[in-house]
Symmetry: C2
Subunit: 186 residues, 2 copies
DNA sequence: TTTATTATTTGACAATTGTCAAGTGGATTT
DNA sequence: AAATCCACTTGACAATTGTCAAATAATAAA
C-alpha cells in the first residue's frame, strides 16, 4: 500500500498527509468483469483495491496472459503507461464485484508539485512495487511452474477459489492443461 | 541515468543538485571479472557505469544466470537488497576493465533526509528503472528467445562482441546451445 | 430437477528446448 | 609453429510443455 511505512512521521504531518491523499482518492464500485483500464489507451489512474480482486492482462497470440493480481489492500495500474503517459498494452479488470479507490495521474502529480514533501512517500511506494516486481521476475526465473504454483497457494490460499485456473496458469507462465496436470501429480 | 529528465529545473537549482550528488559519488576503477557486489551480503551501493560493462547474476542449479547488463551511462545494483537492507542473491561483476561511480545507501538516504527537495529525482529514477524492469518482464513473456535475441542485437549491437554468448543466453532465458542453434537458422 | 453453460481434466501426439558429449575454430602462450 | 586454452557449434537423444480434441465436473439458468 502507498502508506505502508509511515513510522518516521509525526502525527500532525501524518494527518495532513492522509487528508491530502484522501482528497484525491475517489471510491467507485465496479461489477465483476468490468474493465478499470483498456489497452491502447493511456492509463490515467492508480487503483487501490479495497474489496474484491483485480487483474491486469494482455494478449499474446490471441490468448490472455495475466500479468498481475491485486487483492484487497494492494494496488494495480498499467504503471509504464501511467508514468510515461504512453498507450498501454495491458487491460485491467475486476474479477469480482469490487470497491476500488482511484487516484488520477493529474491529481497525484499536481499534489506532488504543490506539496513536494510528499515526494518521499511516492518514492517509498515506488521502491516497494519495484521490489515486488523484482521478486516476480526472480520467481519466474528461479522456480519451476510447480514451485510458483505452490507459492501462490501459500501466499494467497483463497486465490484458487476466487479466480479461474487459466488466469493462474498464464500468470505463472504455463498453459491451463499443464497446470491441471501439475496439480494432480502431488 | 539518475539525472535523465531535468527539463523542469532552473539553472542554479540544477547546479546545486549536481554538486550535491557529485559530493556523494565515488569513482573507482575495476578490472575485468572483479566483483562490485557479492551474494549473501547487503548491497550498499548504487553503481553507475561510466566506461566498461557490468552484469548482475545469480546461481540456479549451480549455473550462472545473468539478470541484467549495464553498459556505459546506465546503473546497476541489487536493488531489492539496496532498498530493503537484506541479503542479496545476486552478484555483480564487471566484464571489462571499467570506471564505475558508486553511491552509498547511507550517503544517498542521508542526503535525502537533509535535502528532501531531491526526493523528486530519486522518485523519477525509480520510475525509470521500474519501467525498464517492466519492459524486461514483458520481453520475457511476450517474445520468443529468437525475438529477444534480435532485440538485443538491435538495441546493443556491440554487446555480442563484448560479452560471452553464454551470458546473453542465460539473460534471455535459454541455454547457450539453443542460442547457438537459433543464430545459425536465419 | 433438468438443461445449458462454463470450468477443469485427460488423452494422444507434436514441437521445443535441455542435456551431455564431442568437435571445430580462433586466439594466446611458450 | 606447436601446444594449450577457451568460446562456440553440432549431434543424438531425453524430458518438458504445448496443442487440439474430447470427456468430465461444477455452476448457473430455466
Amino acid at each position: 500500500m502507498i502508506f505502508e511505512k509511515l513510522q518516521d512521521i509525526n502525527e500532525p504531518d501524518l494527518l495532513e498527509l492522509l487528508q491530502a491523499f484522501q482528497a484525491i482518492m475517489k471510491k467507485e464500485t465496479f461489477s465483476k468483469r468490468q474493465l478499470l483500464h483498456e489497452e491502447g489507451t493511456v492509463c490515467d489512474y492508480l487503483f487501490l483495491i479495497q474489496t474484491g480482486i483485480a487483474r491486469s492482462f494482455y494478449y499474446k497470440d490471441g490468448k490472455e496472459i495475466t500479468a498481475h493480481f491485486a487483492v484487497e489492500n494492494t494496488s494495480i495500474t498499467a504503471i509504464d503507461s501511467f508514468v510515461q503517459r504512453k498507450k498501454s498494452r495491458y487491460n485491467i479488470e475486476v474479477l469480482e464485484d469490487s470497491e476500488v479507490i482511484s487516484i488520477s495521474h493529474q491529481d497525484l502529480y499536481t499534489l506532488l508539485e504543490e506539496k513536494p514533501q510528499y515526494e518521499k512517500y511516492v518514492r517509498m511506494f515506488l521502491e516497494q512495487i519495484y521490489v515486488d516486481l523484482a521478486e516476480r521476475i526472480e520467481d519466474l526465473l528461479f522456480h519451476t511452474a510447480k514451485e510458483r504454483y505452490d507459492k501462490i497457494i501459500e501466499n494467497t490460499p483463497d486465490l484458487l477459489q476466487r479466480v479461474q485456473l487459466k488466469h493462474i496458469a498464464s500468470f505463472i507462465g504455463i498453459t491451463q492443461e499443464t497446470l491441471s496436470r501439475i496439480r494432480t501429480q502431488v
